[in-house]
């Protein structure tokens, strides 16, 4: 066996790159590919014009590679356009959410000084909870604000930057200077000063800098305060305290547990140095809900996330404490997936028919389950001709498709409008647990909302609303529903209310107060009878209005709350695949490894027709060993394991089986299992291994 072949078998490259720690990649110039490379180059040169576009093209042609280049480009452009719109909206929300705390913190920083704090260090305690990312957002905006007004700056310190006091001080000073002057500025700053050269951690440097810049506020933000060593923190703070008369420090502590817990970790002498205020950042959940509502229910939306995607998104947010940013990244990934891999996404670009004229695309449309349903509907309703044309005439299909798409997109928009109507109504009817828009959306997207108990209860309570609440509800509905009926009812109600404004709120006939229990004594027995109380004329009128409102709502909801899965072309405007999202953001690497080893042919599809039952020498060595390992007890005798391993290879290969070769495979497998951390040396017996992982646990 020559070394080349061996290295090939091992997947080792012949150059030394694999043993280097880090290096700059240079494409290999080995003999093998010399035949390929020049030809590739030539191709590139001869098709320069085409290549320019290919260079810009980030998408791969779909439909078996037959997709038109324009269509590919359109998909990409549409993605960019749609997503950038959504991203801006998300950014606005994030800024809006933060702005409250930002203003508070900013005014705190501006208003406080050591003098106002009895000589203590002014401190802002910001509890972020699980919403970790919000703090860095907040800090960078704070920094921007302070720098723009030339008041000072914010220096962010992480626990990793603070191994000991010297390094921490050095990091603080460097970060402060580079924050405004850049890296070169820092170098210059160190050199360009009169007098003896100071060491990098001397706070005199910072004093100098503060004087030069005229800094009024130097905010030092510890992003993960709990992770700092308490001793170090004490030293640092006492140092700041002694420099407070020369350097205007303000400390900002990011706390993810609670202020009490944090305070408990510090010595009292250290706590006594601080005086400040507590700020709370909004929990991630609210923010995420708002983002979701904006993305889905906005009137300009043209691509929606389906039920599965929605539930995956919210699962991840709650299970993994995801930040709003991570949430929006997942949404982004959903958009990316849709446009990258779905050739029908090109329809969202409203392209002219020339782009669409691709026989493959038509074929693809005809293969949709929703197309099938449409055709069945058409035939049922007697439009046989139309159905036939759709099936046979490409041109007709291309002409009709955008129309359907438009109509169905509008129905989606209306659906989300209806969800918002339900949400608004629930604000007035439900008192205890108000489901948020995302919950309602999941139900609506699966077509369950109209029959759900939520809606039923909503109607029941809506009937009993008094006139004040109903008035408010109607005003709210006017904002969401654009319907003349609502306006009319609203007008009638207000005229009615004008007429009897002095008598207090009106109640409808369904209200519990309007049923009266009569008590009569008949033959020495008490008889209770319920009956409708005599309603005043206004009340009757009001009951009428309530009925109309309810009827209107019912009609509206049943009309609009359709099951989106029944819409033609929902595959193009509704992204509802759980999988790329779930697996790319919440992977199960242990499961994957275990599966690969326990059932290797899940991955390695065997071309031969061997029926696989149990371990065999046809499997990779590590997989064989792992399966033997799975069947062993908590303690494994290496000798016996080796015997069993050898047995597997021996039985398969009749005769020609070198035990040393098998031994080398055994070695390889054993070392890999060790690297995975599933076995370790056991001290209990000689040559025994201890099992440290159980599959599936």
């Amino acid at each position: 066996m020559d070394t080349d072949g061996l290295n090939d078998a091992l997947g080792l490259s012949n150059d030394k790159s694999q043993t280097l720690g880090a290096y700059i990649y240079q494409p290999p110039k080995h003999g093998k590919s010399t035949g390929e490379r020049p030809s590739k180059r030539r191709k590139v040169l001869s098709t320069t014009s085409r290549d320019k576009r290919a260079d810009r093209q980030h998408f791969v042609p779909l439909l078996n590679g037959d997709e038109k280049a324009e269509s590919v480009q359109l998909r990409y452009d549409t993605y960019q356009e749609l997503w950038s719109k959504q991203e801006n909206k998300i950014q606005d929300i994030l800024e809006d959410v933060d702005s409250g705390v930002l203003m508070d913190v900013l005014s705190f920083i501006r208003s406080t000084s050591p003098q106002t704090c009895n000589g203590c260090i002014p401190t802002a305690l910001v509890t972020v909870g699980s919403n970790v990312s919000s703090l860095s957002r907040l800090l960078s905006r704070l920094n921007g604000q302070l720098i723009s007004t030339e008041e000072g700056s914010v220096v962010v310190l992480e626990s990793g930057d603070a191994p000991n006091l010297k390094t921490t001080l050095k990091n603080i000073i460097r970060a402060t200077v580079t924050n405004t002057d850049g890296n070169d500025g820092y170098q210059k700053f160190l050199i360009d000063r009169a007098g003896p050269r100071l060491l990098g951690y001397d706070l005199d440097l910072l004093h100098d800098y503060v004087q030069r810049k005229g800094t009024k506020k130097l905010v030092l933000a510890l992003r993960d305060s709990e992770a700092f060593d308490p001793g170090l923190l004490t030293d640092l703070l006492s140092l700041f305290k002694s420099w407070l008369d020369r350097i205007p420090f303000t400390v900002l502590l990011g706390i993810s547990t609670s202020v009490e817990l944090f305070e408990g970790r510090l010595p009292r002498s250290c706590v006594a140095l601080l005086q400040g205020k507590h700020f709370e950042v909004q929990e991630a959940g609210n923010c995420v809900n708002r983002i979701y509502e904006t993305i889905q229910a906005d009137l300009n939306t043209s691509l929606w996330l389906g039920r599965n995607v929605t539930s995956t998104l919210f699962e991840n947010t709650s299970d993994y404490f995801q930040s709003p940013e991570a949430f929006s990244r997942m949404v982004k990934y959903a958009y990316m997936s849709h446009f990258f891999a779905n050739p029908l996404a090109v329809l969202l670009a409203n392209p002219d028919s020339t782009v669409l004229t691709q026989s493959k695309l038509c074929k693809a449309i005809r293969n949709l389950p929703s197309f099938r349903m449409l055709c069945e509907d058409l035939i049922e309703e007697g439009f046989t001709k139309q159905a036939r044309d759709m099936l046979e005439d490409d041109e007709y299909l291309i002409q009709e498709t955008p129309k359907y798409l438009d109509a169905n997109q509008q129905r989606m928009q209306k659906m989300f409008q209806a969800v918002r109507v339900v949400h608004a109504c629930l604000q007035y009817t439900q008192s205890a647990k108000k489901p948020n828009v995302s919950d309602l959306s999941v139900r609506a997207l699966s077509g369950e909302l109209p029959e759900s108990t939520i809606v039923e209860e909503m109607f029941a309570t809506a009937k009993t609303l008094d006139s004040d609440k109903l008035d408010k509800l109607l005003v709210r509905l006017q904002g969401i529903m654009i319907s003349p009926e609502v306006d009319a009812i609203q007008e009638e109600l207000s005229t009615l209310l004008d007429r009897c404004s002095e008598s207090g709120p009106l109640r409808s006939g369904y209200n519990i107060n309007s049923t009266v229990t009569k008590t009569t004594v008949v033959q020495q027995r008490i008889r209770l009878s319920k009956g409708q109380a005599d309603l005043s004329e206004q009340a009757v009128e009001y009951t009428n209005i309530v009925d109309r409102v309810i009827a209107l709502l019912q009609v509206h909801l049943t009309e609009t709350l359709i099951n989106p899965q029944n819409l033609f072309l929902h595959e193009a405007f509704l992204f509802d695949l759980r999988n790329p999202l779930k697996e790319t953001f919440a992977p199960r690497p242990r499961f994957a490894t275990e599966r690969a080893l326990a059932t290797p042919f899940d991955y390695l599809l065997s071309s031969s027709d061997i029926t696989m039952t149990g371990v065999s020498a046809k499997q990779p060595a590590t997989a064989v060993l792992y399966q033997l390992y799975l069947d062993s007890g908590a303690l494994v005798n290496v000798h016996d394991l080796w015997q069993a391993f050898y047995g597997v290879f021996e039985t398969e290969e009749a005769g020609g089986c070198d035990d040393r070769v098998v031994m080398s495979l055994f070695y390889g497998a054993l070392s890999e299992l060790k690297a995975f951390g599933v076995i370790k040396n056991s001290r209990k017996k000689t040559d025994h291994l201890a099992k440290s992982a159980w599959m599936g646990l």
Partner: protein
Amino acid sequence: MKRKLSDAGDQPPVSTPKRRRTALEQSNSALNGHAPSGDASYELPPSARGQSTPKKANGVSATPLQQSGLKTPTHKSKARGLFATPTKPKSAIAATPSRVKNADRSARKKSARVLFEQDEDASWDGSERLAEEILNGDEPDTEKAGQDLAESIEPEGAEEAPEKGVKQPKRRAGRPKGARNKRSPTPEGELPAHERYFFQNRAGPVKTSNATLNKVPLLTHEEYFEKLGQYDDPCKEEKEYLQSLHHRSFPQWAFEFNEGFNICLFGYGSKRKLMDQFAEWIYNYHLSATTTPTIVMVNGYTPGISIRSIFATIVTAVMGDDAPSKLGAQPTEVLELLQSALKSHEEPVTVLINSIDAPPLRRAANQALLARLAATPLIRLLVTADTPNFPVMWDISLRDQLNLVFHDCTTFLPFSAEVDVVEEVNALLGRKGRRVGGKDGVGFVLKSLPENARNLYRLLLTELITLLDDGHQSDDESAETAGKAGDETGIEFRLLYQKATEEFVASSEMMFRTLLKEFHDHQMITSRMDASGMEILGVPLSRDEMEGVLEDLVLG
């Protein structure tokens, strides 16, 4: 799916081996990183007129994101079926409810209860043994029932193996001691994972055989590589096919990079080759652009790699000749330099890290720094992770900074560069001394040393063996002590020096140290500090080997 990638630049040649599943592949998607996931089924809309709608009508376009090329059996049950221990066909018993069988069954039930209720303190008495025998009496039945449970799966099979194979490699004469003990670590049938855990961890003495590897000659580095070269991989083609599937994801990964995501590849097998190919692909993909792309490769498994060196390499890659000669000693300094350099940079920098979870990079501080690198704009980070539990390295804030998307890239390739196989196995088997060649190696070195040195080594060995013997007597857990290799027990430096002067081996500490240095150079002794700061000397040999060496020394 035979996607033509020609438009997207220079693709690595995608060989699509002829498979019977080509038809299925029509429905492949470009997003196939998530390939072998169990639940990738595309849900058909619940159709109102379901009967007339064929279930799997969705063709090319309807399932754009469906499943990727790896046509893995998606059903877990099916997947497990391949290797499942078939459950005992109950009907065989149920059909003939003879009295004897019933009695057997109840006895079995009872004995199972005995085994089950036995607690840790309970002595290992006869009742248990009986109970076990009754339980195991089941087995012949099982085999008769036509279960072709691969015999080698069962560890009994392991113990039976010597009987079958006459040409067993160096097997011990006679039956292994534990062979009669029929308590199988393999539970009957399919147990849920947690039950299996408790089954395999139940109380009672360890019931493995006492066979050791002493008689089996272990491999040296040279032999390992030589023999591995002779192995003909039966799955070569499949592995290549798997690799080609991952290739198809390259444009997708590039797109993800473009959109600001970093990528993490996981799954079983070395992904180094895939990374190389991806690097080459990016290089050629951007070739037509005016500038050459900046790609930095990092091998995380390299022993002694430091974060600072990684950052420094990136700085040199970005700044070229403008890089300052002094970068600063702290990794954070280098990182900040890099960040400020990138502010004036336009082209993105691709950093590919092999094995980010390898021991040299595993520390939390290192991961935090890498996360900061990942959060830097213009840095595109592709990392691979090999161990099954790597996500525990990152807490939420690190995950947030890293901004990763994960792809399962199982390759089944050996970790030939990542793991030093022979060394690892030796460490695992507690044979670190293999490095010097065990007993023979030590003997060989000793022969070439002067008399004094040999005497010192003899002294050292005598002391150690005496210590081991003492420990053996005082310690009632004999198995525990026997398992300890020689390097665990040790003699204090002062004590040995004292003995050496008494025996006139060394007259001064200087000389004593010189002699010891010779041993150190040949890795014949180990030295460590104990809790009180005293230097403890030991020998990296097993007890048998020590005795052998001592014997040779005394006789020679």
